[in-house]
Subunit: 256 residues, 2 copies
């Protein structure tokens, strides 16, 4: 289903405009801009040019300007962007004006680390409850929170307005946990389990798989190694030892 934009319907009365529907690629970059802006604010900057903010966020300046223009931004030509204003803008668009409650399910190896990760607290979220299915883990206290049994999820969800569920269970349990989260009204899930979740329409799932990230890097390693074995067109002097098909590890080959 294509989303239709309302070109002229932005004239909503009030200071807070209706949410524009941003391109996904832009949404994915806004948090990075926000982090860079907070850094800039702490170092005393009141305004920042698109070039400066772009390099702080690790992107191209044209892309950044286009992204910010999507949210009807308020930059000043010849000057730049007001840092504080832009922070407010982005935080509003991302829905960070309220501190959203997060439920974390699975307090194993990774769950422990996530429960103690202060990046959540400092960037707009509050871990409201920890859950696990293992009775031996229920009752344990982690970072000031007591682990509850997953069966208590409905009751806790009724008390706290859980906005986001984080799944840090083994893959085998992830789908059932997702179903239970959806059942209590959670519509956003961050999944660390290496499996595909199926959820009804209207529920957003984002997946983080650490091994996949490494495998992508491995591909590039593999490709770089195979390139150095081939004679390059520019005649670089990097011809390593040609070990035939049994490729030895290209150790510290790149020396800039």
């Amino acid at each position: 289903m294509s989303q239709h934009r309302h070109p002229g319907a932005s004239g909503r009365a009030g200071v807070v405009p209706a949410l524009p529907d941003l391109p996904e690629a832009t949404v994915a970059r806004l948090p990075e801009y926000l982090r860079a802006l907070h850094n800039l604010a702490e170092t005393g900057h009141e305004t920042i040019s698109s070039e400066g903010l772009a390099s702080a966020a690790g992107v191209n300046s044209a892309k950044l300007r286009k992204d910010l223009s999507q949210l009807g931004s308020y930059g000043t030509r010849g000057v730049g962007y007001d840092v504080a204003l832009l922070i407010d803008q982005i935080e509003y668009v991302l829905g960070l004006t309220q501190r959203r409650a997060v439920a974390l399910v699975g307090v194993g190896n990774l769950g422990h680390a996530l429960a103690g990760y202060d990046g959540f607290a400092t960037r707009g979220f509050r871990i409201a409850a920890l859950f696990d299915a293992d009775p031996k883990r229920v009752g344990e206290e982690i970072s000031g929170l007591v682990v509850r049994h997953i069966d208590d999820l409905p009751r806790v969800a009724a008390e706290e307005a859980i906005a986001i569920g984080v799944i840090a269970t083994p893959a085998a349990a992830a789908q059932r946990v997702a179903d239970e989260l959806v059942a209590v009204g959670v519509t956003s899930i961050l999944n660390f389990a290496p499996c595909v979740l199926s959820v009804p329409d209207g529920v957003d799932v984002r997946k983080v798989d650490l091994a996949i990230e490494l495998q992508i890097l491995s591909f590039h390693e593999h490709r770089k190694a195979s390139l150095t074995r081939l004679p390059a067109t520019g005649g670089s002097t990097l011809t390593a030892l040609p070990g035939g098909l049994a490729a030895p590890d290209t150790q510290e080959a790149i020396g800039t």
Copy 2:
């Protein structure tokens, strides 16, 4: 991400073909296919159709076929793909035929969890060494590995062929660690610190930021909430409570 491709290095005769340079989007999906294929192999499947594999991997079947065709695939029309053969193909392309050594820097909250995460070991990697800058942490044993001081990195890198560096330090230390990794020849970095790393050309960096993932979800939550408040086209004016349990009927499909 800043790689340039070498034109003309294609059709190379021989048993092991030269690496085709795949689209990044395809590379990012191959690990997911691989995981699904391993599941299928364990459940006894010998062949699988593109439709079946696609649904197991959570993608569209046309996309999957195009992805696999990129690597000169070996499907059989009317039958499907040979599971074992496809696993070998993908593992070769991803460079997983050798078990790559990973150096993990920063054994704080997150680093501890990563050191104990068995998904690395089971999916083609070996954590070869742990490092930290804090003398109080040096010497500690985690999952059978002793934490070394970051200053020992050059010596360890000379012994083990470190292929990938994982940074799990605070943001303030990440850039220096990255520089040191690059200095000892590491050309692939997985960065968990919330900051932008600058590295020379030829070094790949992938970033995982847990708070950013939550913020992206927060945006969609915010948008969904604002949509339910507005009367949709032909709208049934059901006013859902914030965090309500009712599933509204007019939810837009959100690309994940």
